[in-house]
């Protein structure tokens, strides 16, 4: 019925002959490029080069423009010449966006070093950086890694020891970095990454809502107290507490593991040599912690908790849909920002405890130089600027958000600075207390395998085990799985890592 048979072939022939012409031109350009490629490629680079030439030989119809495009492209990409430049892989958070925006003016203008950022969301960044560092990629001069990776990579000899540089750089003042953070990024005396921003975890709460409900929050609460308050103030409009429920070792895994630690549970016991012992997921403490977490989030937690993590909770809290929130200290800055709907209504308390004295996590997004970096000296020049007190001071002046928006948690000098104290009055001291309290070396009641860590176990296997188990736990929160099934599956998963 709607058959409209306009004649189109004429135009198509024209287009095709145009394309054919293009292909011929490209093939002509390509001949030089392909010989070039052949010279530079070594014996192992079979796939791409081989097929290029194979096509040239057998196909007569424009398959050659493979090479042609490569030629175009190569000159476009590498054309920038001899100016010093470095590639930096960095995670996509507000503080990192800020430094990327300030780099040309504050760094490149002084040093002439161009910084080429790769900006990726956390999970993707981790995939790429881990592969690049561990399997020899040479793509990045500086990479952003977390406290989980830094000492592990350092122990395996994949990263440059920054102490050798810092020792000869008095301006850098490495002693200004918080000892706990420095310790978390070190392995056997070597510092393998410098913190760009660091955080612990604590409870944020709406003082007004708690007051209206006749509740008071201690400065160092227990989980039982927090749960009682949450259940007491939970209503249809406002949930008692926002807790992470989204799968991922760094999402639900981080929040839950701090609870697990203080409940006296753990993922694995440690063998005498520090390697991974038997999985402890089937132990009563583990079950108790998981039941507590799941029940609390179901009774008094946010809606759709199984899909919530930092960003979702941030929104709910700013919308007034939750009264408390247990998460990263860095959130405080966002809640007290000028455009925040809840500015001035908040108070903060240390991470809740049960069996242990402290339970807050410790995390730092940090910059490191891979051992295979093409130019470690230039990399250090950048790294020592980006993680310096000097950058923090300059950013405090230059950023729209002012001093409150500078990367927190890394250096004592930030917290001594009157400008920062004024801008971050509401949360600076509480953040500092939380950072200092984080039990990095002894998070629970039993020895842990691997390297130090609070909200994770410092072994590479935890990334996989934590993520797959939190998928199960998230299903429990969503009501699609029983705690028994989740625990028994998780025990199986964790057991595979035992030795």
């Amino acid at each position: 019925m709607t058959r409209s048979d306009r004649q189109g072939p004429g135009a198509w022939i024209k287009l095709l002959s145009l394309l054919a012409a293009l292909a011929v031109v490209a093939a002509a350009c390509g001949s030089s490029a392909s010989s070039d490629d052949g010279a530079s490629g070594d014996s192992s680079d079979d796939s791409a080069q081989d097929d290029g030439s194979g096509d040239d030989g057998s196909g007569d119809d424009g398959s050659g423009d493979d090479d042609g495009s490569g030629d175009d492209d190569g000159s476009g990409d590498d054309g920038s010449g001899e100016a010093r430049s470095i590639n930096v892989a960095i995670v996509g958070n507000p503080q990192m966006e800020d430094i990327a925006a300030l780099t040309p003016e504050l760094f490149t203008a002084d040093t002439g070093i161009e910084v080429n950022y790769t900006f990726l969301e956390e999970q993707t960044l981790r995939e790429i950086v881990t592969r690049d560092v561990a399997a020899g990629g040479d793509q990045f001069d500086v990479v952003m890694i977390g406290m989980f990776e830094a000492p592990q990579f350092g122990a395996e000899g994949l990263l440059v020891d920054l102490n050798t540089y810092a020792a000869g750089d008095a301006d850098y003042n490495v002693d200004d970095i918080f000892p706990a953070v420095r310790g978390g990024l070190s392995y056997e005396g070597g510092l393998y990454a410098a913190p760009f921003y660091a955080e612990s975890s604590f409870v944020m709460y709406r003082e007004d809502l708690l007051e209206a409900a006749g509740q008071t929050m201690p400065d160092a609460p227990t989980w039982d107290e927090v749960a009682a308050i949450a259940r007491a103030i939970d209503s249809d409009e406002t949930a008692g507490i926002c807790l992470r429920g989204k799968p991922g070792w760094g999402d639900l895994g981080a929040a839950f593991t701090t609870v697990l630690n203080t409940f006296g549970g753990t993922w694995w016991e440690a063998n005498p040599d520090g390697s991974i012992g038997e999985a402890q997921v089937d132990q009563p403490e583990f079950r108790e912690a998981l039941e507590f977490y799941v029940n609390l989030v179901n009774d008094a937690g946010e809606d759709d908790a199984a899909n919530s993590s930092f960003v979702e909770c941030l929104n709910l809290y700013q919308e007034g849909k939750v009264a408390m929130w247990y998460d990263a200290t860095v959130a405080a800055g966002l809640l007290e920002a000028n455009d925040s709907a809840v500015k001035g209504l908040n108070n903060f308390a240390l991470a809740p405890t049960k069996e242990t004295d402290a339970s807050g996590w410790l995390w730092a997004w940090s910059l490191a130089i891979p051992q295979n970096s093409p130019d470690p000296d230039t990399a250090w020049e950048y790294l020592s600027w980006a993680t310096s007190a000097e950058y923090i001071a300059a950013a405090g002046e230059a950023l729209d958000g002012g001093w409150a928006a500078v990367p927190p948690g890394t250096r004592a000098s930030t917290y001594d600075n009157p400008n920062y104290q004024a801008a971050a009055e509401a949360f600076a001291q509480k953040t500092l207390d939380a950072m200092n309290a984080a039990p990095i070396d002894n998070p629970g009641t039993t020895p842990r395998p691997g390297l130090p860590g609070v909200q994770y176990v410092g072994v590479p296997e935890f990334q996989d085990v934590g993520t797959r188990c939190t998928e199960l736990f998230s299903s429990v929160i969503a009501g699609n799985m029983s705690i028994d099934d989740a625990l028994s599956d998780c025990q199986d998963i964790a057991s595979q890592a035992s030795s």
């Binding site: 097929d51 398959s63 991922g248 759709d304 998928e471 699609n480």
Partner: protein, 309 residues
């Protein structure tokens, strides 16, 4: 047979064979660029995977690659998580392909009529197919289905129904919903093509003969659409069995980890065990080939054509 014939016949038959060989090569030449390219680009990585699949190789924690025979494959048999992923994959692929075919056909039938603003409607309808999978997943999970801020739940509440945590409660079906949303337009295009290829005079004749619309649809239209539906089925299956972005963005693997997601998790997603992951994917390839061989035989039309050789 050649040994007992006289020499001139041998000459001639050799001549014929030479010509035949030449003809064979003449026929092959146009195929070679595509074939060689595909072999080189896809089979070299495949051979790597095949090799990795018989080794024990993890890069986190870093361990040297060692040959371990078929133990990665043996592991498969006992791995219940792989079985779960396989089941999820089958459910996800079958339901999303069939549903999008169904919805696509429905849309095509609606659009094949005289409707005011037909072209405009068709334009709107194909848009979901053009959107990046990552973005479509994000839009649906955070803006449509989300319990707190989602439009669907907001509508549900205004008509007095309790809000539902779609993605949390029904992870698999939420993903299928988005897949159907994205792929129905594609199916619609294919079916529309089929409907427009219908012979109008046959339809007219049937109508004159007093056939009911229902009768015409089932007796004439549907059989004619069959090759198009098969094409949709084939292309849909090939692409939908590889769904990954939707799973990752919408559920993070919770309750809906399919085989590609599982393989991802064993490798760069955190497991870093490339030996195991390779073995899993080799098995997937073998399975797919078996299923496809049967499938294509069932889909009669797809591999038929003039047998000239």
């Amino acid at each position: 047979m050649a040994t007992t014939t006289p020499t001139d016949v041998i000459d001639r038959s050799e001549e014929i064979r030479r010509i035949q060989r030449k003809e064979k090569w003449r026929r092959r030449i146009p195929l070679l660029p595509a074939l060689l390219f595909t072999i080189v680009v896809t089979q070299i990585p495949f051979l790597f995977s095949l090799y990795y699949s018989v080794t024990e190789w993890t890069i986190r924690p870093a361990r040297p690659r060692t040959f371990n025979g078929l133990s990665n494959y043996a592991e498969l048999v006992t791995n219940k998580f792989f079985r779960d992923a396989l089941l999820t994959s089958v459910l996800m692929t079958v339901s999303s392909v069939l549903l999008s075919l169904l919805v696509g056909t429905g849309l095509a039938l609606l659009l094949d009529r005289k409707v005011f603003g037909q072209g405009f409607l068709r334009t709107l309808l194909i848009t979901p197919f053009l959107i990046m999978p990552v973005v479509a997943s994000q839009v649906w999970s955070s803006q449509m289905l989300s319990r707190t801020f989602g439009v669907v739940n907001w509508l549900l509440e205004t008509v007095g129904v309790d809000r539902i945590e779609f993605v949390s409660r029904y992870p698999l079906w939420s993903i299928v919903l988005v897949l159907v949303w994205q792929w129905s337009p594609f199916m619609m295009l294919i079916v529309l093509a089929g409907l427009q290829g219908q012979d109008a005079s046959v339809l007219e004749a049937a109508r004159v003969d007093g056939a009911t619309s229902r009768g015409i649809f089932f007796q004439i239209t549907l059989p004619q659409l069959r090759p198009y539906l098969e094409l949709g089925l084939l292309l849909g299956s090939i692409y939908l069995i590889q769904v990954f972005d939707h799973v990752e963005v919408m559920t993070g693997g919770r309750g809906a980890a399919n085989v590609p997601y599982f393989v991802y998790q064993r490798s760069i997603g955190g497991g870093w065990s490339f030996g195991q992951a390779s073995a899993f994917s080799i098995v997937v390839v073998v399975f797919s080939i078996i299923i496809a061989t049967f499938g294509l035989r069932v889909l009669s039309g797809l591999l038929e054509g003039e047998e000239a050789a």
